[in-house]
Structures are given as C-alpha cells and as structure tokens.
Symmetry: C2
Subunit: 207 residues, 2 copies
DNA sequence: GTCTATATCTCGATAGAC
DNA sequence: GTCTATCGAGATATAGAC
C-alpha cells in the first residue's frame, strides 16, 4: 500500500493499520484495539512487535517521513528551470498523497499536537545530511537569486505549496458536501487539481 | 478570547477550554479532565452545563462555525471587483484565525474524522439560508462569468484559499523548526503572509 | 509467533453532600 | 451551582499456554 517495507508481513500489516488509525484519530485518540482489528491480528501482537503505543507511533512517523523526503529529493534534483521542477514536485507530491492519503493526515495530526516527534526527526535528518525540507528551502532561494521567480520568502512558498497540495486531501469531507459532483471521480479531480495548482503558482510567482 | 459569548461566565470558560483541547487532541483524543483543568473547574461541571462530551463538542463546533461564517459573509458582501473582495476576505480570515488559532485546528480535526458533525451543520445552514461557504462558491462563479478572473472551478479556488490561509497556522510547529527567525514575530509573519497570498492569488488568477 | 486471559489504570458519567 | 467520591466501561500492557 505505502510501498514501505519493514521486512516482515505481520509487521507490515500492523504498520499500515497503525498509519491509518493514527492519521484519523491522532496519537491520543487512536485505540490499540482498532489498530489490531484493522491489521487483522490481536492486541498482544502490537506490543510484541513495537513494544508500546508511543514506539509504534514513532516508527510510523519516521518511516513515512523518510519515504516521502526521498521521493521529493528525486523530483527536486532533476535539471531544468525552477517552475518546471516545481511543477514536477507538485505532481509527484500529489500522486504520493493520492496513493496514500493517510500520510497527509498523519503529518497534520502531528502538527496539531505541536509536532514534538516530527521536530526530532527533522533535526536529525538535517544534521545527517539526509534529504529533507531544508534542501527545498535552499533551492527556492537559488531560484529567487537567479531571477527565475519574483522575490519570495522560502518559508512562504513552502507553506503555500504545502497548503495547496495537502489541503486537497484534508478538506475532502467538507468539500464533498459543498460540491459532490466535482469530487466524485477522485482521479479526475486530482488531475484538475494539479493543473489548477501549477497554473496559479506559475503565474503567481512569475518575475 | 473568541468573541463568542454563551451568556454565562462559567459556561464561557468551559467553551474556550473545550475549543482549545478539542482542537489539539481531536474529539476522541480530548480528555474531559484536561478540559476541566484548563477551564479551572472540575469534571462534574462539564456535565452539568453540557451534559455529555458529544454535546459539548457539537456546541463548540456549531458556535464557531456561525461566528466565522457570519464574519466572512460581511467581508464578501462589500461592493467592488472580485480580486479586491478576495483580498479583503483573506485579510479578515487571517485576522480571525490569528486571534483564535484553535478554530483552524478544530476544523481540520473534524475533517480528519470524516466531518460528520460539520456536514450536518453545513447542510442546515444552506437549507435555512444562513451564511455559509456555498455563497462564496456562487460568488466565484459570478466572477468567472463576468471575466474578472480566469475560468476557475469554484471548488478549486475554495481549496486553494483555504489551504494558503489555514495552513499558515496548522503548519507552524514544523515551520518553526525550518525557519525559526521568520516565524519568531507572529504579527510580522502574518503581515508578510497576507501580502504573499494576495499577490500569488491576484496574478495567479488574472484572466 | 500467536493466542486468551487478566492485571492495572484511566476514561466518561453520575450520585449526593453542601 | 459547585464540589468529592465513586461506578462501570474501556484503555494499555503483560503473563503464560500453545
């Protein structure tokens, strides 16, 4: 499902189930029983493989972060003008979230809680030189310096891109009540969504 | 704090506390004990005033929705070209969330949970003719028809505006670790944020 | 490795004194 | 209206059979 493999089949099914439940209910609202049921095993197995709820949560967040940052690094490293790279990253990012909507929810849940676990992970990645959002920030700075886009604070563009993409998934329950027809075909909606985002960003950032 | 008044001082303090705790932990993760502690009273009072956790949650979501939709309706109803109106709405919306960041978190939590309560509230408002997001959708359609902005699916612009604004608050824990300096002064950051959003939207939607 | 059974704690909700 | 004390349900985590 996620493309993340922990090496053991039972462990993987627990991982997928935990990701889903944590992303909907949050770290505190999630119930070990619901994770076990979703994974199709019993509660005792959760503790056998991941020891505690806290450690299970940390494992999920860590693996997901690594998976996403690595994929984004690939898209970012391709040559070409910044707006093309940005378009490709938006595409990759939307596709990854479409294949696994739980990840966007999980990241949001972590932020609503003050992001204590995510903070530790991000600092670690930056220190070790692993792919992470700080690299994207530098790339934006370079694009501004080269005159490829209008002067833009990197953090503003980060929030804007994150908002336009992630919100596509987060807000779906509400949006489906506002315009059910537009959201009925998920694949078609996301195709139009991607076009909209790239258009707005390209013209909105043109120098 | 929110400007929402339930008429009774104790009731108000419970309301504020519940909004804060629900917004951080979600409906399932929130603990009645924590709400009571935050409000400075004991658990029994929560049940005395709001009967149950479910009813407390519904009350909070309902009052917050009404407060925000009414304010947005005011900003939307002012005369002038659409891009000006949009700029004003973004300003009002950012200011409201800045004064009460818990609201954005609460709305997100509700969506992560499938938005069952919000759905009921939205349908009720639409039926009764009360201010709500469906009115903004119609206003966007009119702007497209009048050629004020390039052809744009209303739902796409809704998600984009929501994403650019709400994400400013939601993502702060992560963003603070990425660029602490930029986020240190909250008021200054939001001023720059507003400018960025209006610029990107104005040029990004120009017909 | 996988299960059942259970220990221990914490939750939402209520009873009843004041 | 506001409190303390407490109930029963449900939570995490563990023990121990297989």
């Amino acid at each position: 499902m996620t493309g993340i493999d922990l090496g053991n089949e039972t462990e993987n099914s627990i991982f997928e189930a935990a990701l889903d439940v944590f992303s909907r209910k949050g770290k505190h609202g999630a119930r070990m029983q619901e994770i076990a049921d979703t994974a199709g095993i019993n509660k005792a197995m959760l503790h056998y493989y991941f020891r505690s709820k806290d450690l299970l949560y940390e494992s999920v967040l860590g693996h997901v972060a690594h998976h996403f940052f690595s994929a984004l690094e690939d898209a970012m490293s391709r040559p070409g003008p910044f707006t093309d790279v940005l378009g490709q990253m938006v595409g990759v990012y939307l596709d990854m979230h479409a294949a696994n909507p739980a990840v966007a929810r999980l990241w949001i849940q972590e932020n609503l809680n003050g992001a204590p676990v995510a903070e530790r992970i991000l600092k670690q990645r930056k220190q070790s030189g692993a792919p992470g959002p700080h690299r994207l920030m530098r790339r934006i700075e370079q694009a501004v310096d080269a005159g490829e886009i209008k002067p833009t604070e990197p953090i503003q563009l980060m929030i804007t891109v994150l908002g336009m993409t992630v919100m596509s998934f987060i807000s779906q329950p509400t949006m489906k009540t506002l315009d059910p027809a537009a959201m009925a075909d998920q694949a078609a909606f996301l195709k139009r969504r991607k076009k909209h985002i790239v258009e707005v960003l390209t013209h909105g950032l043109a120098s």
